[in-house]
């Protein structure tokens, strides 16, 4: 039973952490352009990175 005192706060904090991360991402505009985000991964960052390979 004493484990509860430890486990319940952990469970709640983890949940809160997830919620906080989601709201932070939402505020940061990460969900504004979902189609664009999927395409941006295809763009080469710049010429230098290409030469490093």
């Amino acid at each position: 039973m004493s484990g509860l005192a430890f486990l319940i706060p952990v469970a709640l904090l983890l949940g809160l952490g997830g919620l906080g991360a989601f709201l932070w991402a939402l505020r940061g505009g990460q969900f504004d352009d979902l189609d664009g985000a999927a395409l941006r991964i295809l763009i080469e960052d710049d010429k230098k990175n290409g030469a490093d390979r």
Binding site: L4, I8, G15, L16, L19, G29, D33, L39, I43, E44
Partner: protein, 710 residues
Amino acid sequence: MNAPGPSPTASTAFAETLISVPSLRCAGCIAKLEDGLAQAPGIAAARVNFTAKRVAIAHAPDMAVPDLLDMIGSLGFEAQPLAEAAETKDSESRQLVRAMAVAGFASMNVMLLSVSVWSGADGATRDLFHWLSALIALPTVAYSGRPFFKSAWAALRHGRTNMDVPIAIGVALVSALSLFETIVGGPHAYFDGAVMLLFFLLVGRVLDSVMRDRARDGVTALLKHTAPGALVLKPDGSTAWRDAQSLAPNMRMIVAAGERLAADGVIEKGESHFDRALMTGESAPQRALPGDAVHAGTLNLDAPVTVRVTAAGPDTAIADIARMMENAGQARSRYVRLADRAARLYAPAVHTLAALSFAGWMLAGAGWHDALLIAVAVLIITCPCALGLAVPAAQIVVAGALMRAGVLVKDGSALERLADADRALFDKTGTLTLGRPEPDNLADLSTGQQSVLLGLVRASRHPLSQALRRAIEAEGIAAADIHAIAETPGTGLSGAWQGKAVRLGRADDVDGAGSAMACRFEIAGETAITLRFHDQLRPGAVALPAELGALGISSSILSGDRTAAVAPVARALGLTAQTAMLPEDKLASIARLSAGGAKVLMVGDGLNDGPALAAGHVSMAPASASDAGQNAADAVWLGDSIAPVATAIRAARRTMRVVRQNFAIAIGYNMIAVPMAFLGYVTPLVAALAMSGSSLIVVGNALRLRKAAR
């Protein structure tokens, strides 16, 4: 540039402008546009929003909109400025997503605690878990429940009731009673039911609002705004860019070829052809000389003119039509959505049931506490969780399917009304036809002649030249080298090819007012050839009346064009037509049909169709339609083919079938669950299982619609 860095708004020293770039298609376009703009002088940053097909540019404050458009143009993209400023950051759907996230977090954690209670925790542990649940659930109800409380309060204040009234009352009562149970250490608390209910309902709301946003973004990206401003000639001879709102009568604006007019006016200097399709639906360009009146929104085709403004802003003819549209749209705003119609029957029934169970158990001597507990269980079980999801889930699935098929539906109510339609009215120019001339007899020219012609017409923006260019390029013919090309407004193009004079000009033997448009192509030393044009039917137009007929929809044509121009189209499609109709006539015609009980689907594109599009029970417009047409229409389809009209109606009808099935499932579930709740067998565990079970079934049924638009 690739990483989602700080937004360009961050620095205040720069002005920000939003520009719509409809031709963005791939990752390469994003990189090309962003990098290209970022390297341009005066531009601090550019950020593309691919979903909305627009780019936000942070630039030096002294740069004007036309400069930015030129820059984007030189990178190879077509662009239009967006008239409205940056949208409000905190949109409705964002608030809903936040509320949903909070409710989702709360329901997961409360469920964690509830499961332990259900598996046998009792005594001090159960009380502790109930207190913890209360600690999570009560703030959540206060925060995530706001959309429902607000809407319910607004409905009650006006003496009406909607879906949100039973939800708000149910959630508030359940939370209050569960808190009481927790304080007295009772065995059952329904906090998990309350937050789960909110979570499921918010999922429905978010789906509904995402659907509206997505369609709106899509349509905004397509909007070809009427000119946002004009180059004004000052008395001292200098020029300055003024936006449309600050134009005033008696100013002189210089309108370049290819620009739209920003205000009504009279031509002072120069002569040109104007594309007035936006106003009249006529496809043939009209000639305007000094002294002629020209209207805002019409497109100047071939030469720069100076126009003295006679009316600007709210006084223009375009604004008149906009007002007519606003009035016509009022009938539609009285449409009550299916879910709300269901709620009108549902809400009183639910409240009566709950009140009856309370009264019944009181009479049976159960004591007010037990009676209230059972009444609350009835409220939770009947709360329209499945109902709240039934409609939006089906509608968003279909809207997604239609979007992939090239139809943007603006909201759920549009889908409901589309399924109702039993009478279709079509505009001609730009709707049944492509609204652009196509050459008839290009085959009369040899390949060599065509390549000379292409070299010549590439230099011109006149619609006939553009039509020739498209047709010849489609055949894969390369352009010949033409020197000394000159364009004389109203007369034609001339140039030199291998020392020989070539000319493309007006065909005098064909009267411009006839049904055919024509021009004459001449290479010195060879016989002149008259090229004829006509406005081609959209692909799929011929089959459309029969397809709609199979759906029980009869069609006819309402056109602003002359009878001579409409007749061939009407004959080809086998439809009756009313011709030479003004916007008012179209409105009257729709009003007559509606009074007779018909649910009119109006399909049109031009500004002159705007009022009719707003007045119809439901309306559709092609993506090539005018700004006003697209705004007024409930759905916009992309591409040349008109077949999506029938596809959309079929998909809308399938949606309504699934929605009705979902209602039947929800009602069937209530018929089993309500007697159990009535008899007091519904514990929080049973309520949680029933609620999530019915929601899953309803969503699963809606997912069957994913292929509805094929």
